[in-house]
Amino acid sequence: MDWVVFVVAGAAVLAGALGVILASHPVHAALMLVLTLFGIAVLFVAQQAHFLAAVQVIVYAGAIVVLFLFVIMLLGVDKSENVTTETLRGQRPIAYLAGLGVVAAIFLLARTTWVSGAQSVAGVADGPGSNVEKLASSLFTRYILAFEVTSVLLVIAVVGAVVLARHSPSGGVRDSEQA
C-alpha cells in the first residue's frame, strides 16, 4: 500500500515539476506547481508528518501560489514565453550538464556516509502522542528563539512588501527601476 502511495505521489511530484519548467504560459506553470505541492503534501503524510502536510497545503498551495497568480495577473496574464529558443549562448547545454552533474554527484555521495559529530536529538519522531504535539513541544521549548525571530522576519517581510510594491506618490522614482 505504501508503495502505491509513494509511486503515485512521486509521479505527481515529478510531473508537476516538469510541467512547471516546460509550460510556456505562467498560469499553466502555476497550476503545475500546485500539483507538485500536493504530491509533496501526500508524501509528508506518508512519512507521519501530518502537521507539516497541512501547513504545506494551507501556506504553500493556498497562499503562495495564489500570490503568484495575483502577480501574474498584475504583470500581464496573456504573456507567454517562447520556450523553444534560447537567447543566451550555451546556457541550455551547460544547464543540462550541470543538472546531470548534480544528480550524479548526489547519487554517488549517497553511497558513502559522512558522519561528523554526535547525533543531536531534538525529540523523537516515533512514539506516543500526535505529530502536532511532538512538533509543538520541540518548537516552543528548544527552538523558541528561532520561532520568535521568524515571526519578526514575517513582520519585516510584510512591511517590506508593502513599501516595495506601492505606487510611489509623484516625485521619487525608485533606483531599482531601470529606465
Binding site: F6, L43, Q47, Q56, Y60, V121, L139, S176
Partner: protein
C-alpha cells in the same frame, strides 16, 4: 512494509535537479521563482525523510522554519518583481543587464 527512506531521498534529489535546471533555462521571472519553490520543496522532503529515518523531530522543525521563511521570501521577492517590471511590456530576466561589463 514502508518505503525505504532512500527512495524518498532520490525523489527529492530529482525534484531539486529539475527545479535547478528550470531556474537556469526559463526566462520568465515568475516561472524562475516557481522553480526556486520546487527546490525548496525538495529540501523539505529531504528533511522530513531524515526526520523519519533518524527518528528526530528536529527535521520537521526545520521544515517548519523553511516553510515560513520561504513564504516571507516569496512575498518580498514578488514585491520586488512587481516594482521592477510594473511598467514594462516584456518581463524577462534578460532585460535586467545593467551589470554588463
Amino acid at each position: 512494509m514502508s518505503v525505504p527512506g532512500a527512495w524518498y531521498l532520490g525523489l527529492a534529489a530529482m525534484l531539486f535537479t529539475i527545479g535547478g535546471v528550470g531556474l537556469l533555462i526559463r526566462r520568465n521571472v515568475l516561472i524562475m521563482f516557481m522553480c526556486v519553490e520546487l527546490m525548496l520543496n525538495a529540501v523539505n522532503l529531504t528533511f522530513v525523510t531524515f526526520a523519519r529515518m533518524l527518528n528526530d523531530i528536529g527535521g520537521q522543525v526545520v521544515v517548519f522554519f523553511v516553510l515560513v521563511v520561504a513564504a516571507a521570501e516569496v512575498v518580498v521577492g514578488l514585491a520586488i518583481i512587481v516594482s521592477i517590471f510594473r511598467r514594462r511590456t516584456e518581463a524577462t530576466a534578460d532585460d535586467i543587464s545593467l551589470l554588463k561589463g
